[in-house]
């Protein structure tokens, strides 16, 4: 079953490679996505036991990330059909293949318990994402791709070194190098502190680059800004979640060691705060709404890091926020893709009055904005407030206070960009691009919005149980 999770997308990629017709090829995506979703559902409802070697196990954390990935992917896949239909001028073979290969790699990230394998899978996603960012084939997108590729490669290289340090620390401890999570956790107390410390730092920086924590986030605005909205959603919802899972794994090891976790939490708090501060600074007066979304992603990655750094009750919030952020970002990226199509521009001096020209996309974008900034009744509110309140309940009110202050600044920055763009009168002189809202380009983000609305009111029991189990794995209160 778990093998199918990885093989079916790969097979899909092969099929996409074989289909010659540009118009029909994207149909592979929803087909694969639906199967993937179905398999995921079955896996989540009755999780299989760990594999004999302990390499493959869908533990609660993996399940949460898998849920994020598959949900985002499924909706993006349907969206892709509608989107690529408007982009017939360009071959979508590489896009379809790349997306599916990424899905396979992301699936592997979630199910593996071997940190080396996890690294390989994550690096694979990095590589396969590059051509997707270059979909638009212009000078800007090549620049974005280059920066993305080099920065992420460097980062993931550092993570590899960290991984090797970790393996070596086990080698030093008991002459048997292993990167299996279970073994690592079981023996974490015996690990050499110096090696573990170095390993934690290298992996934090490495995976942090992939995840986009400031100041390692520099590739994000460029890549998110130049990639199609569809790819942006996958990057922000899928890839970030996978990178976060990698950091969670490191967190688990540090936690089990008992000593390293204090530093690791502090480092996460520091990077998290730096991230939301960067986001606050860069969102102000941001004229490019896609770059703004990228900084919003930096912000939310920062929130996740802070929540991990806080520990305790915030862990539940962090895990929940992962899902919520992925979906909320999905709404924003997909609808922003539509807006971009309509106006053929992504700067706010041209894009105005979206609600009048594209009521659905504009409305979705606005709702996504409200959701992503943590307003009820959408679920990011629940997760963010879990984090904030647990900061206050733990008596760390300076952290909570500054956290809120930055969130407020970010809200201002975002509102100053989003609201004039969505409201207001549309420009008259703009030429018609032939784009109009239709079911396939509006439906998926709408479904995402409904999901976060639903999660904000009544998260299903199985999800809550899963999140709680995940939080327990991270040392949260049962």
């Amino acid at each position: 079953m778990i093998a199918a999770l990885i093989l079916i997308p790969l097979f899909g990629a092969f099929v996409a490679f074989c289909i010659p017709d540009n118009r029909w090829r994207p149909v592979v995506l929803p087909v694969v996505a639906s199967i993937h979703l179905g398999i995921t559902a079955m896996l989540l409802l009755s999780p299989p036991p760990p594999s004999p070697g302990g390499w493959i196990w869908l533990d609660p954390l993996g399940r949460i990330v898998l849920l994020c990935v598959t949900l985002i992917f499924a909706l993006c896949a349907f969206y892709a059909v509608g989107y690529l239909d408007c982009r017939q001028e360009r071959s979508n073979r590489i896009l379809c293949m790349g997306v599916l290969a990424c899905l396979a790699a992301m699936g592997l990230v979630t199910v593996t318990q071997h940190l080396g394998l996890l690294w390989v899978a994550l690096e694979t996603t990095t590589v396969f994402m590059a051509p997707l960012i270059y979909f638009n084939r212009n000078a800007r997108s090549i620049e974005a791709t280059w920066k993305y590729l080099l920065i992420c490669s460097v980062g993931i290289g550092l993570a590899l070194l960290g991984l090797l340090f970790l393996a070596y620390s086990t080698y030093v401890a008991h002459r048997d190098a292993t990167l299996l999570l279970g073994a690592l956790i079981a023996t974490a107390r015996d690990l050499n502190p110096a090696w573990l410390h170095a390993a934690a730092i290298f992996m934090l920086v490495g995976y942090g680059t992939k995840m986009g924590l400031a100041p390692l986030h520099t590739w994000k605005p460029d890549a998110y800004g130049e990639a199609p909205g569809l790819v942006g959603a996958l990057l922000a919802g899928g890839l970030v979640s996978c990178a976060f899972l990698a950091i969670l794994r490191v967190y688990q090891v540090c936690l089990a060691s008992g000593f390293e976790i204090h530093f690791f939490r502090k480092a996460l708090l520091g990077l998290g705060f730096l991230s939301i501060a960067f986001a606050a600074v860069f969102m102000a007066k941001q004229a490019d709404f896609k770059r703004m979304l990228a900084y919003s992603s930096v912000e939310h990655v920062g929130i996740l890091a802070i929540a991990l750094g806080l520990g305790k009750g915030a862990l539940y919030g962090a895990l929940f926020h992962l899902l919520n952020n992925a979906l909320a970002k999905g709404v924003l990226f997909l609808s922003s893709g539509n807006i971009h199509r309509m106006y053929n521009s992504k700067t706010t001096d041209v894009v105005k009055g979206v609600l009048s020209r594209l009521p659905w996309s504009g409305g979705l974008f606005l709702a996504g904005f409200i959701a992503v900034t943590g307003s009820p009744p959408f679920s990011p509110f629940i997760s963010e407030y879990t984090i904030i309140s647990s900061a206050f309940i733990d008596g760390r009110y300076w952290i909570g206070g500054f956290f809120l202050l930055f969130l407020a600044l970010i809200f201002i920055g975002m509102a100053m960009t989003v609201l004039p763009m969505i409201m207001g009168a549309p420009p008259e002189e703009i030429e018609s691009t032939g784009y109009h809202d239709r079911l396939l380009t509006v439906g998926p983000p709408l479904v995402m919005l409904c999901v976060i609305f639903w999660l904000g009111i009544r998260p299903p029991a199985f999800l809550v149980a899963m999140l709680l189990d995940g939080a327990v794995l991270l040392g949260g209160m049962p």
């Binding site: 730092i201 539940y316 919030g317 009110y397 409201m423 998260p459």
Partner: protein
């Protein structure tokens, strides 16, 4: 957000469960009562880790069976209120399903129905001691379960709410017909949500539940007030509003988190359960003051208010000003009741902020040129008066003066109800003017009364009421405040609170200027432009709600006993006094003679008027033009304008509001071009503090933004730098 999701027999009804005592009415049948009580307390939906879906399903089935027995629940008042909120919340749904035109009608009917039901429930609790029950609803995971409960304080805010919502519902389809105007669907959907969320705010008994309702309220208000979205000005003020309300919510997030840190749960602590000494109590009160005060429009957090109210559709302005601002007041009262003792500075802070808002608000109002901005600024004033009253009572608690407590709270609470009534009346009236004349600019209007006699009479009633003149209701609330202040002047060795009386007098005086200006310039005289001339009377659907409100103003003015009866339970429970004490102390303001004097005033007025009319009938009346003091070529544009009318007082109150000249640009090709010139009222907080602050911050940020300057090599340097920093961090 969770609203009551259905009626009896609907499985979703299981979201709610009774936790309160069973209703007395079937107490004489022990068997039934027991059968009734047990299953309902059996908590069908509380999440327990490990409950599989099958178990849950069985529990649902059990619960449905329970529902079928418990038909009588529908007569419970709390249930009725919840149901009304639910109906309002979904009232916009037909708009999506059945189209905007039909949907608007259906929504109107549904909302009216729900308001009547809700008002009935509220009145039956208040006057007939109908039973109330706690309904609990499950919140998302870490926040547990939360209750909806109605108490006296909630009722105080619910009573005007239902009335105003009822009126707004009638008003809406005529003012913003889906057939003619864009955005009617959005307006309808969010109006229902807005009303429902306000109901939820008043009855939520859990921090998170409250916050959810609060934010739904704030955000639906945003969508409502930007209904005219293509208007640049509206968009901007909507943005200011959204940012302001978000900041307020941030403060509330902190506040509820701190409360939770003290009590260990997000449920509201019971009344007077928090000691002053408990940690964070100062922070909690300050956060509440910031969050709730900002929503109420207390100075200096009022800056969002004028623009937001001005740009909104009129019935929305009515609901925002009449109801939403009150939610801020409700919130702060609710938080204050948690504490058994308050620090001395609280009362004085309230008093000073209230007085500042009252004077400042009306000063800003006097300077306005926009009809609805003026009304909005006057809301700041009224909120200031309410806060002054609350502050007075808090000071009273400090010095153990029951009279001050009761007069302050009674005055404030009466003003809460009164302001809801007359401010809604005025906003809806202004909607009639906009509908008829198509402009909000006071100085372009004039002579509207000749074309809209009905509306003008109703508007006059609102004007008199808001100025606090007898015989209308506005007077009653102020009377209590004056009585409290003067009584303090009598009995207190150091009567600082007494200063409230002259301050209120000043505020009343400026309010009179403002509203004479408003009424006189807009309705009377001759039209100052074509707009004013082209006005016409509004349809009945728009005037009837105003009539209802005007009637309420008159009724409460002539029969203030009812008003006091409405607020006394809230006063008694908020101040933790006995009913006897209330009756005894509140008799310092005897209502019977006031009623008598009011009656005399009306009789005398009617009598004199009757004689005068008789006389006019008998004598031939001559029509002529107004005496122009010898100048023959008068034009309507020579009439006194609103700006000049208030110029004198604005020049005297320069601290609060300044009037800046918008200088004309006279450059032409050869000769100076045609230019216009205007006075613009500038607001200190928004224009002189916040806007520069934002500009400077943006300026500072633009330096910081060079960090992301495009050079890949530097980006990689960041990575190394981070690595090194982290390596060295522990070394230190």
């Amino acid at each position: 957000m969770s609203f009551p999701k259905g009626v009896i027999g609907n499985p979703v009804f299981q979201l709610f469960q009774k936790t309160g005592s069973p209703i007395e009415s079937f107490g004489d049948d022990p068997l039934f009562a027991r059968a009734h009580r047990r299953p309902l307390n059996a908590d069908p939906f509380r999440y327990k880790p490990g409950v599989t879906s099958r178990q849950v399903k069985r529990r649902v089935a059990v619960a449905i069976n329970n529902c079928e027995i418990s038909v009588d629940i529908s007569f419970d008042s709390t249930y009725l209120i919840l149901a009304s909120a639910f109906i309002m919340a979904v009232s916009g749904v037909p708009c999506i399903l059945a189209g905007a035109v039909a949907g608007q009608r259906i929504a109107m009917l549904l909302t009216m129905l729900a308001s009547i039901a809700g008002e009935y429930a509220a009145v039956s609790i208040l006057f007939f001691n109908a039973s109330t029950t706690a309904y609990s609803v499950e919140l998302p995971q870490p926040f547990g379960e939360a209750a909806f409960t109605v108490d006296n304080l909630s009722l105080l805010f619910l009573l005007p709410l239902y009335l105003v919502v009822f009126c707004a519902a009638i008003y809406s389809p005529a003012y913003w017909p889906a057939r003619k105007k864009r955005g009617a669907t959005r307006l309808t959907i969010f109006t229902g949500l807005f009303a429902a969320s306000m109901i939820a705010v008043t009855i939520a008994r859990n921090g998170v539940l409250f916050l959810m309702a609060w934010e739904v309220m704030a955000i639906s208000a945003y969508f409502l007030l930007t209904a005219d979205q293509q208007n640049q000005e509206t968009e901007r003020s909507g943005r200011v509003y959204l940012i302001a309300t978000h900041f307020g919510t941030m403060a509330l997030l902190i506040m509820f988190a701190l409360l939770c840190a003290i009590t260990g749960t997000f449920d509201f602590p019971p009344r007077c359960s928090l000691a002053l000494a408990s940690p964070y109590s100062t922070a909690i009160i300050l956060a509440a003051l910031f969050g709730f005060g900002g929503k109420a429009g207390l100075m200096p957090m009022h800056f969002w208010l004028p623009g937001a109210h001005a740009g909104a559709p009129s019935h929305i302005s009515a609901m925002m000003s009449g109801l939403m601002l009150k939610m801020g007041i409700y919130g702060i009262l609710r938080v204050l009741t948690f504490f058994n003792l308050l620090p001395p500075w609280v009362g004085w802070t309230f008093l000073i902020l209230g007085a500042w808002s009252a004077v400042g608000g009306i000063a800003v109002a006097a300077a306005q040129r926009d009809l609805k901005r003026l009304l909005a600024c006057s809301s700041i004033e009224n909120v200031g008066i309410i806060f002054t009253g609350i502050g007075m009572s808090l000071v009273g608690m400090q010095i153990h003066s029951q009279l001050l407590i009761i007069c302050g709270l009674t005055g404030a609470f009466i003003h809460v109800i009164n302001h809801s009534l007359f401010k809604s009346l005025l906003f809806m009236g202004s909607g009639v003017i906009i509908h008829g004349a198509g402009t909000r600019e006071i100085d372009l209007l004039g002579g509207v009364a000749r074309r809209m006699p009905v509306a003008s009479a109703l508007f006059l009633a609102g004007t008199i009421a808001i100025c606090g003149f007898p015989p209308l209701n506005g007077f009653i609330g102020e009377l209590y405040l004056y009585a409290g202040a003067i009584q303090d002047g009598i009995s207190n060795p150091l009567p600082l609170t007494a200063v409230v009386a002259p301050l209120l007098a000043l505020v009343g005086g400026v309010a009179a200027i403002t509203f004479v200006k408003l009424y006189g310039i807009v309705f009377l005289g001759q039209p100052r432009s074509d707009r004013g001339a082209g006005s016409h009377e509004a349809p009945l659907q728009m005037t009837v709600p105003i009539m209802i409100l005007a009637f309420a103003c008159l009724f409460f003015g002539l029969y203030p006993v009812a008003l006091v009866r409405l607020v006394s339970p809230a006063v008694i429970s908020t101040a933790a006094l006995s009913a006897e004490t209330f009756d005894m102390v509140s008799s310092v303001v005897p209502l019977a003679p006031v009623m008598l004097a009011n009656g005399l005033l009306i009789l005398l007025g009617l009598f004199t008027g009757y004689l005068y009319l008789l006389k006019l009938k008998k004598e031939p009346c001559e029509k002529n033009s107004t005496w122009g003091c010898g100048y023959p070529a008068r034009t309507p544009r020579m009439q006194y304008t609103g700006t000049s009318f208030s110029g004198l007082i604005v020049s005297q109150l320069g601290t609060f509001v300044s009037s800046s000249k918008v200088s004309p640009d006279m450059h032409g090709d050869l000769l100076p071009a045609k230019a216009s010139f205007a006075y613009e009222a500038t607001e200190t907080v928004l224009n002189q503090i916040l806007t520069p602050l934002f500009r400077w911050t943006g300026w500072g940020f633009s330096y910081l933004r060079r960090i992301q300057h495009g050079q890949l090599q530097v980006y990689i340097l960041y990575i190394i730098a981070t690595l090194f920093t982290l390596m060295l961090w522990r070394g230190r």
